[in-house]
Each structure stands twice: as C-alpha cells, then as structure tokens.
C-alpha cells in the first residue's frame, strides 16, 4: 500500500471556497490555542511558585511584542469560539442552508473583530 497518496481532506486539490477556508482556519486557530492552553498552565504554575518566579512572566509581559501576541491571541480565541458555535449548530443539522452558511460565516468575522476591539478598548 502506498502511503504517498493524498489523504482526506484533500487540501491541495480543491478550489478554495469560503467554507473550506473557515474549516482550515478553525483547525489552525485550534492548534494555536492548544499552545495557548499550555501557556495558561505555565502562567498558573508561575503564580503558585511565588513572586520570584512570577517576575519572569512580568519581564516578558511588559514587552510590546507580548501585547501584539495577546492581541492575536484574543482574535484567535474569538474566531475559534464563534466559528465553533456555528459548527455546533451544524452538528445538529441546523443552519446548513447554503446562504445561511455564508451569512453566519461573515457574522463570525464581524463578531470576532468587534469582540477583539471591545476587549482591547476596555483594557
């Protein structure tokens, strides 16, 4: 059996339609957020270890780079959250008409961006 065959889902051979792009982004943001979950664990471990260790986090968190990182993290969280809600409806066979799929897709983009902006103007 040859293992060089393309595996499903065949990312490289299809025209990039909106639903496919959303799906790929859902997986990509999922992987990024997994790393985020590990970092969140590290954060709570540093808090438990005490102020001498927490300083290491504060040294990094005061950098401008870290703010950019957090901004992207916020956007990633909201995208995965709202798009995930859409997929939950799909799991029950709801909201699957083609134009609902497209409209809810655009709603995901608008909600993700506006929620991210709301968070960052509140800080």
């Amino acid at each position: 059996m040859s293992l060089n065959r393309p595996l499903s889902p065949h990312l490289s051979i299809h025209k990039k339609v909106l639903t496919a792009v959303f799906s790929i982004f859902h997986r990509f943001t999922g992987i990024c957020l997994s790393i985020g979950a590990i970092l969140l664990s590290l954060w709570i471990i540093l808090i438990a270890l005490g102020p001498n260790y927490y300083v290491k986090f504060q040294n990094i968190s005061s950098l401008v780079f870290f703010k950019v990182f957090l901004f992207l993290w916020t956007l990633t969280i909201f995208y995965h959250l709202y798009n995930g809600i859409r997929y939950l409806f799909w799991s029950y066979g709801k909201m699957m008409e083609l134009n609902t799929v497209y409209r809810s897709g655009y709603a995901v983009i608008i909600l993700s961006i506006s929620s991210t902006i709301l968070v960052w103007i509140s800080i």
């Binding site: 060089n4 889902p9 997986r27 992987i31 997994s34 979950a37 709570i44 471990i45 270890l49």
Partner: protein, 110 residues
C-alpha cells in the same frame, strides 16, 4: 480504546462548557491585566474563581487533545509518526492538567 462516537460527543460537550467559561475568562483577563502579583494571587484565593478556572483549563486541554488528535488522524500518514505524535499530545495534556491542578490547590490552600 475509546470509540470515535464518544470522542465526537466529548469534543462537543467540552465545547459547550467552554463557551460561557471563555467569555468569563476573557472578561477576567481584562480586569487582571492591571493587577500586580498579590492581587492576581488573591483572585485565585476565591474558591469560586479557582474552581471555574480549573474547569476551564481541564475542558480546554481535553478539547485541544481531541482536536489535535483529529488533525493528526487526518494528515499524518506514517503509522509510527502518528503513534508518537498522539503519545506526545497525551503526555503534554495530562502533564499540564496535573501541574495546573497541583498549582491551583497550592494557591487556594496557601
């Protein structure tokens, strides 16, 4: 070995749990962002906050584990690499869960 149906259900169950908790956590982060170490620590002194955070991180890590395994199943062709990657994902997930639980217990009880 767990069936794929139960994994599918757990993926969605953890997703539903994470929806309200994520909003709660993002809101708390906005508040915590201006806090110093002592204030952040006192946030976790509250058993309510510590419990919600505990549920959040466990659900998040488990949801991530299931998601990453699905991605590995779909894209990793080599049987050995698939095994190793899944083992790595499991190890990282359970280690993070354990250390988070110990840390939270330590903070709450200190």
């Amino acid at each position: 070995m767990k069936s794929y149906a139960s994994k599918w259900i757990m993926q969605r169950l953890t997703a539903v749990v994470l929806i309200p908790l994520t909003f709660w956590f993002v809101y708390q982060c906005v508040v915590l962002s201006n806090y110093e170490y002592d204030q952040i620590k006192s946030f976790f002194f509250s058993k309510f906050n510590a419990s919600l955070f505990f549920i959040l991180i466990i659900a998040m890590l488990y949801h991530a584990k299931l998601g990453n395994e699905t991605i590995v199943e779909d894209y990793v062709t080599s049987v050995n690499l698939k095994k190793i990657t899944k083992l790595f994902i499991s190890a990282l997930t359970y280690l993070s869960m354990l250390l988070t639980a110990i840390s939270l217990l330590y903070i709450v009880s200190s």
